[in-house]
């Protein structure tokens, strides 16, 4: 292991009943890389971030930055910048004093604070009160404050969850550009796959305290390592038993679970079927503009989604569905 930021078998156990364990998790992060921790609530992603920041002490494993073991270094001396979910701006200080907070004792603190605000496009906001700012502006102040002391690693806790949906997509791009311009190694937590894919170079998927898979977005989508990743990342239809066998065309009879993305399913030509496929009735059609989702129900009650041209079928049609590409998993989901 020799990334810039090495997480080596880190583990945190919470007592109580039922007791919860996060980890052991191992992750090597390259300098300047942006890594997303993606998972549902309770997956341990926030615990992971707080372990990195030093707000929680691990029960096992090490955290190493640039070859320095920081596992027991308190947050105040770890030199990791953090942007909190609700920003945690100090309400008793103005914007300038908030940004300069981490620069105490530095001779050019004022100049650096101005510079940090300029970098997030908030030049001239020094004397503003934090509660007068919009949500997006507060987020940028929090970012400027975290970056001003020139930390080694930037940590972001659900960085966009507090913003209007309309603002999120634009902010996401701006945030990525800014981080890349600064060149800082970044770890952020999110529960939204789109955000993880858009903002992260690599995505680490967590589930129930375990690291399921780490990889680039297309790798996770096309080659998920587990049934959980396949269903959590992107839309997926899960088939078992006879339906699975019909779609997998009998290959590898040992397969018990088959996952097919909606866009990898298509309606077979009326005459050309017969080689396999799954027969069913179109129950619903959800039009999205460029395409439509068709909800198909088989004779035995399985329901699944097909993404196709809007005019590919109508509700009530009897159809046969074929798979272009299937993902196979054993009963244990691996």
């Amino acid at each position: 292991m020799n990334g810039f930021l090495d997480v080596q078998g880190i583990e945190k156990r919470w007592g109580g009943s039922p007791s919860v364990t996060v980890g052991p998790i191992t992750l090597a992060i390259a300098p300047g890389e942006i890594v997303a921790l993606l998972g549902p609530s309770g997956s341990g992603k926030t615990t992971m971030l707080r372990l990195l920041a030093g707000f929680e002490t691990p029960d096992g494993g090490r955290i190493v930055v640039e070859g320095e073991d920081v596992t027991t270094v308190p947050p105040a001396r770890r030199r990791f910048g953090m942007v909190f979910q609700h920003y945690a701006l100090f309400p008793h200080l103005d914007v300038g004093a908030n940004v300069a907070f981490g620069l105490r004792g530095q001779a050019d603190a004022g100049r650096k604070a101005v510079e940090a605000l300029r970098r997030v496009d908030l030049a001239g906001f020094e004397r503003r009160k934090v509660h007068e700012l919009s949500g997006g502006q507060q987020q940028r102040v929090a970012l400027a404050r975290a970056l001003a002391p020139e930390p080694r690693v930037l940590l972001l806790d659900e960085p966009l969850s507090n913003l209007d949906p309309a603002l999120r997509e634009r902010t996401r791009r701006e945030l990525r550009q800014l981080i890349k311009r600064v060149g800082i190694t970044t770890v952020f937590v999110t529960h939204e796959q789109e955000e993880a894919f858009d903002l992260g170079d690599r995505v680490a998927v967590l589930n129930a305290g375990r690291l399921e898979q780490t990889g680039a977005p297309d790798e996770l989508y096309e080659r998920p390592a587990s049934l959980f990743v396949a269903t959590f990342v992107g839309r997926a239809n899960v088939f078992r038993g006879a339906a699975a066998r019909a779609l997998a065309r009998g290959k590898d009879g040992g397969d018990v679970i088959v996952v097919v993305r909606p866009e990898r399913l298509r309606f077979a030509d009326a005459g050309g079927g017969g080689r396999g496929g799954l027969a069913g009735v179109v129950r619903e059609r959800r039009y999205t503009g460029a395409a439509a989702f068709f909800l198909v129900e088989t004779d035995i009650g399985d329901r699944f989604e097909v993404l196709a041209q809007p005019d590919a079928a109508t509700v009530g049609d009897h159809v046969v569905v074929e798979a272009e590409r299937v993902l196979r998993f054993a009963e244990n989901g691996r």
Binding site: A76, F101, P149
Partner: protein
């Protein structure tokens, strides 16, 4: 009720309140404009000494109370150790103790014939008591004991509202533990600290029983005023009263200015920091010992009072511990007519004044918040006014105003059964007023509208919807008002007659007759009733 009728009702309420709380002060101000009295006040060094004593005692009380209450609040809010919950509420106990009860409990415990002094005397074989509990030191001791609770409760409330991510943000930016407290925590809880400082300053400035009993030759303004009044020098008493009122108002305004902007404590929905278990064994033992030690220290006066109340008259002379214990004193309290009388007096006068204060506050809440009458600011200000002035000021003002027959504003009420409930009512108005105005403000008007749309008339809506919703605030305000009236001494000592004497006066005369057991028994009754009423009032 039509708009016009509501405005009329608002005007009537404002007039009634002005007559109750403002007019007597104006009477004092006019009577104080007496050249000879002012010259007498300005010329006597004793007057200036008493005024200065009031100021510095109050400021020192604030400093002492903060020095005890603030660290204690941090200890109980931030750290977990065995017994934290129980001790945390025990530590707030002195707040239920009427000031006079605390003072006599201190007397029995630390006074020259109290347990501690007797024990030291016996231990060292001294021929007389090793110390006398008297003068400014004794007053400050009692103040610190009873007033640190304000800092303790306010600071805990402030800390509980703190967002834990604020502290983590400071740490992530490189601030250590002390830097975090100095640069983030204290600025954020400043409104709470200032609130506690104001309350402590006002309470200490108006404090009467501690300087009255422990002052000795040392006079503060409250005791000076009462002494002058009892000597019959009324114009001088008026000038003194006005001087004390002026100090109170100036102090209040100065402290208010330090409060700063009304900052939001957190921008997002914050989670308060959880109390952390203390890891290092040595510190955990120390914290636990401090907590328990403090609780014992705090309970000691209460226990002493209970013990002394069990000592029959004359049974305890030179021994360290009383040789005989019995319930004789309690028996006398309830069987002797002249002892039962003050108990009943205090009870009925407190009930009547509290009920009147609740009714006025309910009317004020409805007119100010719901109907938003033109005089709403005046009504709110008048309700709060008695809080801004020491109790002695109102006691003297009421005594002056209602000893003259000049209808329609002045009648002779002094000497009648009406004057003490009236005085208690004035002191109760800020308590019930604040609670019910806050309650009304939290009330969703849609609830009353929903009741109306379901066919409920005005009284049915009040009884079935409004009052049940207001119950928590009403119970809190009413219980505080009742306990304040029950334990009052300042107004009582100026305005009582033999027929209407309340418990506090009976305690003082029992002490004077060396009936310490009876005085203590009265104290215990006062303490228990106060604790019960406050306990009921705090129930949700």
């Amino acid at each position: 009720m039509s708009h016009r009728a509501a405005q009329l009702a608002g005007g009537a309420l404002a007039l009634l309140l002005a007559w109750l709380v403002l007019y007597p002060i104006l009477v004092v101000a006019r009577d104080a404009a007496d050249g000879a009295a002012i010259r007498a006040f300005v010329g006597r060094s004793g007057e200036w000494a008493a005024l200065w004593a009031s100021v510095w005692i109050s400021l020192a009380s604030v400093a002492l109370a903060a020095a005890i209450g603030v660290p204690l609040a941090f200890l109980f809010e931030w750290f977990d150790f065995p017994g934290r919950k129980t001790l945390g509420s025990l530590v707030a106990l002195p707040v239920v103790l009427p000031p006079l009860v605390g003072v006599i409990a201190f007397l029995f415990l630390y006074g020259e014939s109290g347990f501690i002094a007797r024990a030291v005397q016996a231990l060292l074989g001294l021929s007389e008591a090793p110390w006398r509990l008297q003068g400014p030191g004794a007053i400050l001791l009692v103040h610190a004991y009873s007033m640190y609770v304000y800092f303790y409760l306010f600071t805990r409330a402030g800390l509980a509202k703190l967002d834990v991510s604020m502290l983590e943000a400071a740490q992530a930016l490189g601030a250590g533990r002390w830097a975090t407290i100095g640069r983030v925590v204290l600025p954020l809880v400043r409104p709470s600290l200032v609130g506690a400082a104001i309350l402590t300053f006002m309470t200490a400035l108006g404090s009467f029983s501690a300087p009255y009993i422990f002052g000795g030759g040392f006079r503060v303004m409250t005791t000076q005023i009462v002494a002058t009044k009892l000597n019959g020098d009324l114009p001088l008493a008026m000038v003194e009263t006005l001087a004390l009122a002026a100090v109170a108002v100036v102090g209040l305004l100065l402290l208010r200015r330090t409060e700063g902007d009304d900052i939001l404590v957190a921008l997002g929905k914050g989670i308060a920091p959880r109390p952390r278990p203390i890891r290092r064994a040595g510190i955990r033992v120390l914290a636990t010992a401090t907590g328990w030690g403090f609780a014992v220290l705090l309970l000691l006066p209460h226990l002493t009072l209970a013990l002394v109340s069990l000592v029959p008259y004359g049974a305890w002379t030179t021994q360290i511990l009383p040789p005989v214990l019995s319930f004789e004193n309690y028996g006398r309290l309830f069987s002797e007519a002249e002892r039962l009388r003050p108990l009943l007096n205090s009870l009925w006068m407190s009930v009547v004044s509290t009920a009147a204060a609740v009714v006025l506050a309910l009317a004020a809440g409805w007119l100010v918040v719901r109907r938003r009458v033109a005089l709403r600011r005046a009504i709110e200000g008048l309700l709060a006014l008695p809080w801004a002035l020491p109790g002695t000021v109102f006691a003297i003002a009421l005594a002056m105003t209602f000893s003259v027959h000049a209808p329609p504003l002045r009648w002779v009420l002094v000497g009648t059964a009406a004057i003490l409930p009236l005085a208690y009512l004035v002191r109760a108005l800020p308590l019930t007023g604040r609670a019910l105005l806050a309650g009304y403000r939290q009330l969703d008007p849609a609830l009353e509208e929903a009741a109306a749309s379901l066919g409920a008339g005005r009284w049915r809506t009040l009884a079935r919807v409004t009052l049940p919703q207001l119950r928590p605030g009403l119970a809190a305000g009413a219980s505080l008002a009742f306990v304040a009236a029950l334990g009052d001494i300042v107004a009582s000592i100026v305005l009582y007659t033999y027929e209407t004497r309340p418990i506090s006066i009976e305690i003082l005369s029992s002490l004077r007759l060396s009936e310490t057991g009876v005085a203590a028994a009265f104290g215990v009754v006062l303490m228990v009733v106060s604790a019960l009423v406050l306990g009921i009032g705090a129930r949700r």
